[in-house]
């Protein structure tokens, strides 16, 4: 047997429905608020594959680039660049939009020259050209850089773990005064 709703019941149902609608809207709004973006304020930033250069990079973001924030982890901000997650230091980004044209802050003088490229983009001299012009051998530089590439992130992690050193491994209380 079908029960007829009273006017009060209808009003109560309407209120509940309205509450649900507002609740959903609030959740959607909150979701939008969590979708944080940041902008690159340095002329260019290497987005690192981990929290440190030892992990390599996932890409480079130029000044003014908008980066969706995935998470904040201390001084590191995990962002997305071209579909890949990576890390940047908070000092290299801005919470508000940055124009790629405004180099005033980069100049440090408060002057804007209205250019959108860094000296690097404009072709500041690579070290090899400097060496060539001075008739200097660049083999040492190459040796240095190849040496760095030999060390892998995994190797470093194992090295740090074996010695119980590395980021997040604060020293313990000393049994002897320092410098003795």
């Amino acid at each position: 047997m079908r029960r007829e709703r009273t006017a009060g019941q209808w009003r109560g149902g309407w209120r509940r429905g309205r509450t649900i609608v507002w609740g959903v809207a609030a959740l959607l709004g909150a979701g939008a608020a969590f979708a944080e973006d940041v902008w690159v304020k340095a002329p260019r930033v290497e987005v690192l594959a981990g929290k440190g250069s030892v992990y390599g990079t996932v890409g480079t973001a130029m000044k003014g680039t908008k980066l969706p924030v995935v998470a904040r982890e201390g001084k590191w901000i995990k962002v997305e660049l071209n579909g890949k997650a990576g890390y940047v230091l908070e000092g290299a980004i801005s919470p508000t939009a940055v124009s790629a044209r405004d180099l005033g802050d980069a100049l440090g003088s408060g002057e804007s020259q209205g250019v959108s490229t860094s000296a690097a983009a404009r072709g500041l001299i690579p070290a090899e050209k400097f060496g060539e012009a001075r008739n200097l051998d660049t083999a040492g530089l190459k040796q240095l850089e190849e040496g760095r590439k030999r060390v892998t992130p995994q190797q470093w992690q194992e090295f740090a773990a074996a010695g119980k050193v590395g980021p997040g491994k604060p020293a313990t209380a000393a049994s002897n005064p320092p410098g003795k």
Binding site: V54, G123, I125, A127, F130, V151
Partner: protein, 301 residues
Amino acid sequence: MTRWIKQKLLVAVTAAVPVALFVGAPMLAAGCKGLGTMTDAIGQSIGGSTGSAISAAGRGMKAASLDERDEHEMGRSVAIVVTNKYRLLVDSRLNDYVTLVGLTVAMSSPRPDYDYCFGILDTDEVGAFSGPTGYILITRGALARMQDESELAGVLAHEIGHVALHHGLEAVKNAGMTQAFNDAVNTSKELSQFGQLVDGASDVIVNKGYSRTQESAADAEAAKYLVAAGYLPGGYVRFLRRIEAEQHGGGGGGGGAMSTHPGSRERVTALNRQLADMGSPGGQSLKDRFQRSTATLRRAG
């Protein structure tokens, strides 16, 4: 003969422009000025540079907006100059070890994002250098006088401290190099301008060195990085004391740069005070690992 070299490689560049440079820095334990023959050799190849005016642009050199690629090329260029004066030691296992220790400290510093490179200069002299974006070189002579990994970590931490504090940039600015940098950037494809900047920056670092205040600041940073990385910070103090003792004991460390920079004792005192304030932190010294990893040095020596 042992000589505590304090060299500074540079850094510099700046900010005045979109590019900016930064950092660099040198090391060493002792003073900051002339480094004897090593220094002279470098200085001769570099000619002094330019200069003038430390303008508003100069004041902006420490601004965050530095183009790291540009700075990187500065660091690479300085590394070319140095490695043409001092041969790099060819010992990949030993170099990897120094790199691993250096990275451990660097990743615990405020600038773990720099692309650090570590190398060993094949000379008996005692010293270390650092250039923009973390091109850090330590001498075989310095390694040979160390006893454990915490001492090596300490010296590298000092260099990383100079880098993080932009001391190289300050040195260039103070030497009136800002105009050279501006010229280099504004005429971005002029090799002569860029070369002048590299030369001048290297000259500042190598011949003039950092101030005692900067050395002390780098020491203070080093202590913090060592603690953050879990190394025994007292190891660095121990190494400084050993080098100072060599100088005063006539064990090869006297004369040269060290004799003009009698600040090691003061630095040791300041470091001990800082560490006491920090609660006398302990940490890893890793003597066995250091001895194993550097065994080739003792066999060769």
